[in-house]
Symmetry: C2
Subunit: 474 residues, 2 copies
């Protein structure tokens, strides 16, 4: 069990890190002690901001001597409170944001070594200067850091083609709970020297190691894209279309988002300067994007495939973006769903996954199950169909006081969603992680075999429980 | 520490598994107690051959009660003694070969669920009946089993495009050291519920869990292939060619093997019915293969790219296979290297990897380092250039008694190779694993941080050390 840091430890940490790297000033720490969603409010004995891997290792060694707890943090933009300390005021916040250098880039090998604190959007720009692209992006790109993205195995809208962070990490450097530095940055395509620590640290939410740098895979910068907004009858049909496009267009197909008409409707009602791409409306839409080299003639290829899908009555209607501005407008409709929904009132949000094949079934069946238990309740699914990952939002019945209804029934309704997901072999956290938000839920719903194994790994690597206590599993 | 099984435990195991699943007959066990290379000879208290996951779990629970050690085994075709019990006669050999069913195949989703004991070649045939292909193959495909391939994170000749086993495993079922069953078969593309146990079991050599089944990704059956034999000046040029072909041909490029002329020469001298594809000879060759749909016109695409490479003097000469028989003949040259080399006398074999970029440098510099320490010594590198993985073989000086020379100097010469690999950030085991063969080498040469972490994971998941003791790190 961790213990509160002694005044001597705090002095030593201050001496080690200097004024730039140490603060116990409440005002200076405040922005970093509340999570992005404003749901968790923590306290910290101090905020530590080391500038080098050596400093991180020295911090960990000092803290390990006293069993002091460390809570690593990147951009503080996580969705599950994974980077917020508890309210005891005895934990130490370890910010990686000062470690924000691009250490190296290899254009030939299409690899970059980048420190944990670099912000994703800055990394995008840095590699673009070399004619390359890092093919992972998400809403929080202006604040999310590389270390946080690795530690949460982040996803986003390009997972369909390029995978989650796990697939893009060629190497990792991390400080382990004993203060040693694991140097796994070398980008080995084959390495069978036992357990893959790199993969283990990916998605471990800072509970097993402090990621200080990563070697990341890059792809050539996309010179062209083609975007289509497609009207269709059901998620089932959307999956058929996805399979067809995947077989025909393969590596060019980078995005395939599923959107129900009710989501589009909310966007059109609440978000200024939006308009429906298709008239009349369809029950469901797919937003499809291809990316590739300049000479790929993506528009023509996409048009050919969609014309064939239309001919065989798989899809109801389609419009291709004529230029970048139209592409952006289509994506703005997709990206505004959460904002529009908030304007419609409170909702329960579930970030869940099931095997891709079963996603249409989940989307079709879950609203009925919910309505049987909670008459009038409304469910909306949208998102990454090709990843088997939807954002499944549940709204209170119309006409009731939404906040009061959610306070009374929200937890039970969410349980029903999660149990359905687990019945289908799915996950209660597709891309946001566990953190504080789902820690108790995981302990309640996951299989005893899996929970015991997770706890075994944690105990084996961090026996004193000093790294991010209270998150994920302990 | 494991203890010898009591007579009562053996009785209970026999009662559980019946005659088909239990044997303590020395003759029946003999073939499974010596490894494929004939290097390790073990003994076992009994051989257990459960037929179901439930039986495996029951075996593990019974053994855990007495701290009896289990050594899992698939096709017994590993290269590092990882599936051979020690010589004490107190370990139990756990064969998965009776669990050999294809449980399910989903043509739409291109996924198959297959039990651990199914032989790779049988699996190839089973999915081919569905118009699909499992894109991992290797020399031992007639005996290697799915469980062993998962547990060793097997590689092979198609890793360049499709990755090692790790990339092809969509789900895993395994029995953990406490006898619980981890059901991770659901093929979730996104799942952020903490540590990725599936990835942890991949390559763990049976030291953390007994893999009982896997859900594997498939690709459409290849309807066409194009094969070229290319003469060029150096590994450096070969890497440039690989980069060029990869950019131009992308997903079609499935094989890129590097072969020095001395390897080809040995094949031509020792293997009947072989002939050199090019005349006059070149210092190095690349064997390149594309695979794809029938209408891809692969030959034309490959010819265009290679003609351009020839025009720019990147390559010296090239011959394309005119038909399947010629393709097979080219691959036979590659696949016969080990056999030809054995006919030339004993050699030290090293299965090593470095970052792809550094491979030409390793190949260029290592022979000089060796010769400086051991005058007259000869080194040969061949294999998977694009994976940064060569088979680096070292032959004694000409004219000496090879066996005696190796006995005197072999270990020191190998140390020199491994230290060079580690200097370049590489791995002392690229694809064969650690097993017994490299256990002490790993403990000697790997970084203390990494070793401590490996030991922590092992202790956390298998505190009594019952799964495959004496292998990898234990």
């Amino acid at each position: 069990m961790p213990r509160p840091p002694s005044p001597q430890l705090l002095d030593r940490l201050q001496a080690l890190l200097g004024d730039k790297g140490f603060s116990d000033d409440a005002d200076a720490m405040a922005p970093w002690l509340t999570d992005w969603r404003g749901k968790y409010h923590g306290r910290a004995a101090a905020m530590l901001s080391p500038a080098t891997t050596g400093e991180v290792a020295a911090v960990v060694r000092l803290c390990a001597q006293e069993d002091a707890a460390l809570v690593p943090q990147g951009g503080n933009s996580g969705m599950v409170g994974g980077a917020t300390p508890d309210s005891s005021g005895t934990q130490l916040l370890l910010s990686l944001r000062r470690m924000n250098r691009l250490r190296a880039i290899d254009e030939q090998a299409q690899l970059a070594v980048v420190e944990a604190g670099m912000i994703l959007e800055n990394f995008h720009h840095a590699v673009l200067d070399h004619g390359l692209r890092f093919p992972l992006t998400l809403g929080g790109k202006g604040s999310a850091t590389i270390g946080g993205l690795v530690s949460t195995n982040a996803g986003g809208t390009q997972v369909l083609r390029h995978g989650t962070m796990r697939a893009l990490v060629a190497g990792v450097e991390a400080v382990l709970p004993d203060g040693s530095v694991f140097d796994g940055l070398a980008p080995l395509k084959k390495d069978n020297r036992g357990y893959d620590l790199k993969q283990l640290l990916c998605g471990a939410e800072g509970t097993l190691g402090i990621v200080t740098a990563a070697c990341l895979r890059l792809v050539p910068a996309a010179a062209a894209r083609a975007t289509a907004w497609i009207g269709l009858a059901s998620p089932d049909v959307a999956l058929q279309l996805l399979r067809r496009l995947d077989a025909a267009l393969g590596p060019s197909l980078e995005g395939f988002e599923l959107i129900p008409h009710r989501c589009l409707d909310a966007v059109l009602r609440h978000i200024p300067q939006t308009r429906a791409p298709l008239d009349p409306p369809h029950p469901w839409y797919a937003l499809v994007e291809l990316a590739g080299e300049a000479d790929d003639d993506l528009d023509a290829r996409l048009e050919t495939e969609l014309a064939a899908a239309f001919e065989s009555a798989l899809i109801g209607d389609v419009v291709l973006a004529k230029n970048e501005a139209e592409s952006d407008a289509f994506w703005r409709l997709r990206d505004s769903i959460s904002e529009a929904e908030r304007a419609d009132g409170p909702a329960l949000q579930h970030d869940v996954s099931v095997p891709v094949d079963l996603m249409p079934r989940f989307i079709a069946e879950n609203p009925g199950r919910l309505a049987a238990a909670f008459p009038g309740i409304r469910a909306l699914s949208f998102g990454h169909l090709g990843d088997g990952n939807v954002h499944h939002h549940v709204q209170p019945p119309e006409g009731v006081d939404g906040a009061a209804w959610l306070a009374a029934h929200g937890e039970d309704a969410s349980r029903l969603v999660y149990r359905h997901v687990l019945e289908l072999g799915g996950s209660i956290s597709a891309e946001h992680g566990i953190g504080q938000l789902k820690r108790d839920l995981l302990a309640e719903l996951d299989s005893p075999a899996r929970l015991a194994a997770l706890r075994g790994v944690k105990a084996g690597l961090d026996p004193a429980g000093l790294f991010n206590p209270g998150k994920l599993i302990g």
